[in-house]
Amino acid sequence: MPRSTKKKEGGQDASTRPFWSGTITFGLVSIPVDLYPGNRDTHVGLRTLGGDGAALQRRYFSEKSGRQLGDDDIVRGYEHKKGKFVIVTDEELDRLAPEKTRDIELKRFVPLEDVPPLYFDRSYFLVPSGGSSKAYLLLAESMAAAGKAGIATFVMRGKEYLVAIRSDRGILRADTMRFADEIRTPAEVGLPKKTKANAAKVKRFEQAIRRASKRTLATSLLTDEYSEQLLKLARKKRNAGKDVVEVEVEESEKAEVIDLMAVLQKSLKAGGAGAARRKRAA
């Protein structure tokens, strides 16, 4: 479900503001947290430029009058009958979520390997907020020690999520998952019924698998060759002074990442230091 049309256009807030703020509850312990995306959508950013090299902007127009529309002229509608819409605001959608569903209530802890890969969708890093870093670190440490992930459902920005909260080197991550009814079964897809495999054939595949087995993933394998080639070509043309234009730009993707690190560092440090001081005083 798209949120609003207003994000990013202004340019400056996306880098420091969390994607969402909420509370993890673990028994009676509540831990306010901010969520930051752990994935970025774009790889190399190809921008749309005009014939004269100016960076073009995406704008909305009235289908009826052809008039250009500002953010305040646009609403969101749900098509309940063909051509008939019900208007709804972000605030109304937020208020439709019952109080408790806005909390990430850890009701169950499961071995992470129990979750089939098909379920996972996106990752978010969690940062303690509102003086919660002591409880945050305690949860991260005890989950890591138990080798478990906490499962919860919660509503964020107009959508309910199934999520696995896990500890990743002492930092909490929220990995969103699909609901069971969003995943097709092999029967629904129309795959044939399982048949008993020929033992000799299985053996041959097993041998081939063993031969190609590794213990670790070389993430360098996953570099985006296409993006690298694009960059190479662009640099070559720049050095040759061909098709180069100067363009005013909004903040780059990179700033977003660095800011998240700074936020994490600051927020974790603040809590840690505070806790240490309290201990000494006691």
Binding site: F26, G27, L28, R40, L46, R47, T48, A54, A55, L56, Q57, R58, R59, E63, D72, R76, G77, Y78, I87, V88, R95, L96, E99, K107, F109, V110, P111, P117, L118, Y119, F120, A135, L137, A146, G150, T153, E160, M177, E182, P186, E188, P192, K201, V202, I209, S213, K214, R215, L217, L221, L222, T223, D224, L230, V244, E246, V247, V249, L264, G271
Partner: protein
């Protein structure tokens, strides 16, 4: 109703090959909205406009530019872009096999089922071999003019292929600051672990439902009929003051709930 295959390929593992079809493994159940003009309640159109003149720029006049350093763009022509596209191929090359979870789920993007395309025996033999070896395969192929990476995984006897994000789309833990040393007391840690233990169980996806989706749809239908459904208020929560006492009370409550459940069963 059987789904339609979106692509056909040839899984290649050394000298072995299994012809397969790709099917989307997910169904979109999101509630979708349209952007509308407030006044007319009609749909809106999107156009690219020139930043200075505000005039619409037609798609024939548009060019693609790549930022080589902040503010400096190099224009890449359509022919140049096409030349960089990888060569078409039907091969899904299996590069290596890894223990489960070595590929962190942060990399996973979109899941597909693979179905047999002619060689059913080979298909189920590969699925069984993967399950027996408890391995996940790393695959590479070209689809829709892009090089793709994927994780090959056997789920309940069927092959699934989950596309992976590129290295620059994933924020890795090594990019993050190290978490500070623990500040919890031994007692707090013991109690937190005990509480986790009390809530332990297998992952059962049928336990969880998207109830909010239903509420949103009900609300929209009610409003379509001209009703004004009631909405809640939003409050913010504060952090726990005393971890030890909150953990203690949680453990007690969990134990009491368990006991009364056991009594009910008996």
């Amino acid at each position: 109703m059987a789904a339609r295959a979106i692509w056909k390929g040839n899984l290649k593992l050394g000298r072995l090959a299994v012809p397969v079809k790709l099917y989307s493994a997910i169904t979109d159940r999101d509630v979708h909205f349209h952007l509308l003009e407030k006044r007319s309640r009609q749909r809106v159109k999107q156009h690219m406009v020139h930043p200075e003149t505000g005039e619409e720029v037609s798609s024939e006049q548009v060019q693609k530019g790549l930022e080589v350093e902040p503010g400096t763009f190099v224009i890449l022509k359509e022919e140049e872009l096409q030349k960089l596209e990888p060569q078409d191929s039907r091969d899904i090359e299996l590069l290596q096999f890894l223990p489960p979870q070595v590929i962190d789920n942060q990399w996973y993007e979109r899941p597909y089922y693979l179905g047999p395309d002619g060689d059913t025996a080979g298909y189920f033999a590969l699925a069984e071999a993967l399950e027996k070896q408890k391995k996940e395969g790393l695959a590479r192929w070209v689809m829709r003019d892009r090089r793709q990476f994927g994780a090959l995984w056997a789920q309940d006897g069927y092959l699934t292929l989950i596309t992976l994000r590129n290295a620059d789309e994933v924020l890795l833990p090594k990019d993050l600051p190290a978490a500070p040393k623990r500040s919890a007391t031994a007692a707090e840690l013991r109690m937190a672990k005990e509480l986790i233990g009390l809530l332990e169980g297998p992952f059962d996806p049928s336990e969880f439902h998207d109830e909010y989706r239903e509420r949103v749809l009900e609300f929209l239908e009610a409003r379509a009929k001209g009703r004004r459904p009631k909405l809640g208020r939003i409050k913010t929560r504060t952090a726990s003051r005393s971890l030890e006492s909150d953990l203690g009370k949680s453990i007690e409550a969990m134990r009491r709930a368990r006991k009364s459940k056991e009594r009910d069963v008996a």
